[in-house]
C-alpha cells in the first residue's frame, strides 16, 4: 500500500503568501525571470515575480501546495494520482519550444524565453473542477493566452485554436503501455472567443514558483470555467485552424467528454453526477460535498459566450 509521505517543506508553505510574494517582487530585479534566464532544468522550483490580478477568486481558501503537486491527472506519467509527482521528473523542460502554425501571420518555433519576454506575469487564483468530481483552488502564475494570440496574428479564417502536449515516450513512462490509455499525443482545443477570453491563461507557475513537471511544466493552459482536462499541459504546439479540432478525451469516449466541457451541474457525466464536488483538503475522511456551480462559478464572465447554445447537446 502506498501511503504518501509529506515531502520537504517549501518556503511557500511556512511563509505567509503575501510576505513572500512581496519579497519576490523586491528580488525580481536581481533575479529576473528564472525562465527567461534559461536556467538549466531546475530540480527545485524557481521563484517567479507576478502581479496580483482582479480576476482572481480571492475569498476561497487555497488548496495546499502539497495537495496541488501530489494529486494529479497527467496520464503520460501513469493513471494513478500519485504517479505524475513520482515519475514526471524525467521530462526535460529546458530548452523548450512551442511551434505556432496554421492560419497565422507569424508561424514559427518560438523559444519559451521569447514567449515570456514581453509578458507581465500575473497571479491568478482560480477554482479548478475536475470532471471526476473533485476541486481545488490554485494560485497560478501566468498571462492571458490572448496576449500570445495577438502577437502571432491569426488570420480571419482561424476559428479555433488547437493545442498539443509533448509526446516523448522516453521521458513519459505512461505512454509506453500495452493498451494506450489515450491516443497520444494529448490534444485539446478552444473556440477563438474562448481562447481570447481574459480568464483563459497560459500558466508557467503556481504558488509563486515555476510549475512542477506534474502540473504541466513548463507551460500549460488554464480555463477555469471548464473541466480540468481542457487545461492541456506541457504545450509544444499551438495551431490556428478553421474547423473544430479533435480533443484527446473526446476521441477516447465521445459520449462522456465533449469539446466544450464547460462545468455544468445540470449535465451529468454518463457514469456519475456532476451536481456536487469534493474540495480537496477540506474535511479529510469526512469531506462534505459542495454544490458545483454553473461554469464553475464564472458564469457572470463567460455565460454570454454560449448564449443560445443547448448546453446539454454541446457538453
Amino acid at each position: 500500500m502506498l501511503i504518501r509521505r509529506p515531502s520537504d517543506i517549501l518556503p511557500s508553505e511556512i511563509t505567509p503568501r503575501d510576505a513572500y510574494l512581496n519579497r519576490r517582487r523586491l528580488l525580481a530585479g536581481a533575479a529576473g525571470l528564472a525562465l527567461a534566464a534559461g536556467l538549466p532544468k531546475p530540480s527545485r522550483a524557481a521563484a517567479l515575480s507576478a502581479v496580483k490580478s482582479p480576476l482572481s477568486a480571492t475569498d476561497e481558501k487555497l488548496t495546499s501546495r502539497e495537495d496541488i503537486t501530489t494529486y494529479n491527472n497527467y496520464y503520460e506519467f501513469g493513471t494513478d494520482k500519485a504517479s505524475p509527482a513520482a515519475k514526471a521528473k524525467t521530462l526535460k523542460t529546458s530548452p523548450w519550444t512551442v511551434k505556432v502554425d496554421g492560419l497565422v501571420a507569424k508561424p514559427a518555433d518560438y523559444a519559451l524565453e521569447d514567449i515570456l519576454k514581453p509578458v507581465t506575469l500575473e497571479e491568478r487564483i482560480y477554482r479548478m473542477r475536475c470532471v471526476e468530481g473533485w476541486s481545488m483552488v490554485i494560485p497560478w502564475v501566468g498571462f492571458p493566452l490572448a496576449d500570445l494570440i495577438k502577437r502571432v496574428e491569426p488570420l480571419g479564417s482561424a476559428k479555433y485554436v488547437a493545442f498539443e502536449t509533448a509526446f516523448r515516450p522516453d521521458e513519459m513512462p505512461g505512454t509506453d503501455t500495452i493498451f494506450p490509455v489515450l491516443d497520444w499525443p494529448y490534444v485539446e482545443g478552444l473556440r477563438m472567443d474562448e481562447a481570447m477570453h481574459p480568464l483563459t491563461i497560459l500558466a508557467v507557475g503556481l504558488y509563486g514558483e515555476t510549475l512542477p513537471n506534474q502540473n504541466g511544466a513548463p507551460i500549460r493552459i488554464v480555463v477555469p470555467w471548464k473541466y480540468g482536462f481542457k487545461g492541456i499541459k506541457s504545450i509544444t504546439r499551438i495551431s490556428f485552424v478553421e474547423k473544430q479540432p479533435e480533443t484527446a478525451w473526446n476521441k477516447q469516449a465521445p459520449d462522456e467528454y465533449g469539446f466544450y466541457a464547460n462545468v455544468n451541474p445540470k449535465v451529468d457525466h454518463p457514469r456519475w453526477s456532476q451536481a456536487t464536488e469534493r474540495r480537496i483538503g477540506e474535511g479529510g475522511l469526512f469531506v462534505k460535498r459542495r454544490p458545483t456551480l454553473p461554469f464553475n462559478g464564472y458564469a457572470d464572465q463567460v455565460a454570454q459566450l454560449y448564449a443560445g447554445m443547448d448546453l446539454k447537446k454541446f457538453y
Binding site: 500500500m1 501511503i3 504518501r4 502539497e66 495537495d67 501530489t70 494529486y71 496520464y75 493513471t79 494520482k81 500519485a82 470532471v131 471526476e132 473533485w134 503501455t177 500495452i178 493498451f179 490509455v181 489515450l182 478525451w249 477516447q252 469516449a253 462522456e256 451529468d268 457514469r271 456519475w272 453526477s273 451536481a275 456536487t276 469534493r278 480537496i280 483538503g281 479529510g284 475522511l285 469526512f286 469531506v287 462534505k288 460535498r289
Partner: protein
C-alpha cells in the same frame, strides 16, 4: 465449487502448515485497520475519502479472487487450502460491506435521493449494489449449520453465485475508471482466468465422464 477430494490428489499434495483459521481473519483485517488508522490521522493523501473507498473495494475483490483460487490450487498444484476458503470468502464480504458503508456515509453523506439516483442511473453503481446483494446470502450461509440445513448439493449450487459476484465486482471496477488503465484490466483478467478454468474443466468432464480429474 470443490468436488470430493480424491485420495490420489490428497496424497500427492504437499503439506500446508496448519495455521489456525482465526489467523486468516486477523491478517485479513490488517489492511482495514491500517486504512482507518491512516485515514483518521489524515495520511491517505489529498482525497482520503476516495482513497479509503477505493482501497476497501479493491481488498474485497482481492479476497474474492483469493477464495476462487482455492479450488484450482488444489486441483493443479495439490495445495489444499480448503479449510481457509470460508474465511477468505467472508473477508471479501466484510470488505465489500465496509466499501458500501464508506460510499453511503462518507461519500454520499446518507443523501438517499442522490444514492437512489446513482443506483438507477449509473450502471457501475447498479452492478456494485447487485454484487453486494448477491454476497449477502453467501455470507449468511457460510457456516456449518447452513450447510447441514440446505444439504451439500443445494449449498454448493447456491454458492456458485460467487462466480456471478466475481464478474460483477470486476465490471464494477472497470466501469468506474476513465479510459482503460491497467489495474482493473489485470483484475478482470484474473477473474476471467479463474472462471474460465472452471468452465473448461466442467466441459472436459462432461465430454469424458470416466476420466479422473488430473
Amino acid at each position: 465449487m470443490a468436488g470430493p477430494i480424491s485420495a490420489q490428489g490428497a496424497k500427492r499434495g504437499f503439506a500446508v502448515p496448519q495455521v489456525p483459521k482465526i489467523a486468516v481473519y486477523v491478517i485479513g483485517f490488517i489492511p482495514a485497520v491500517w486504512l482507518f488508522y491512516e485515514g483518521v490521522n489524515d495520511r491517505l493523501g489529498a482525497d482520503p475519502m476516495r482513497y479509503l473507498e477505493q482501497a476497501l473495494g479493491l481488498w474485497a475483490l482481492r479476497f474474492l479472487i483469493a477464495s476462487l483460487t482455492v479450488t484450482p490450487l488444489r486441483q493443479l498444484a495439490g495445495v489444499n487450502l480448503l479449510r481457509y476458503r470460508r474465511a477468505l470468502g467472508l473477508l471479501a464480504f466484510y470488505y465489500a460491506a465496509l466499501h458500501l458503508v464508506t460510499y453511503l456515509v462518507l461519500d454520499q453523506g446518507l443523501d438517499f435521493a442522490a444514492i437512489w439516483a446513482d443506483i438507477v442511473k449509473r450502471p457501475y453503481i447498479t452492478i456494485g449494489m447487485a454484487t453486494f446483494v448477491i454476497l449477502v446470502p453467501l455470507a449468511l450461509t457460510s457456516n456449518n449449520a447452513a450447510i447441514r440445513r440446505l444439504g451439500g448439493q443445494a449449498w454448493a449450487r447456491l454458492h456458485r453465485l460467487v462466480y456471478v459476484a466475481a464478474i460483477g465486482a470486476a465490471l464494477h471496477f472497470l466501469l468506474v475508471v476513465k479510459s482503460w488503465p491497467p489495474e482493473p484490466l489485470v483484475y478482470t483478467a484474473i477473474v476471467l482466468v479463474l472462471l474460465g478454468y472452471r468452465l473448461v474443466r466442467s466441459l472436459a468432464k462432461k465430454a469424458s465422464p470416466r476420466r479422473r480429474p488430473a
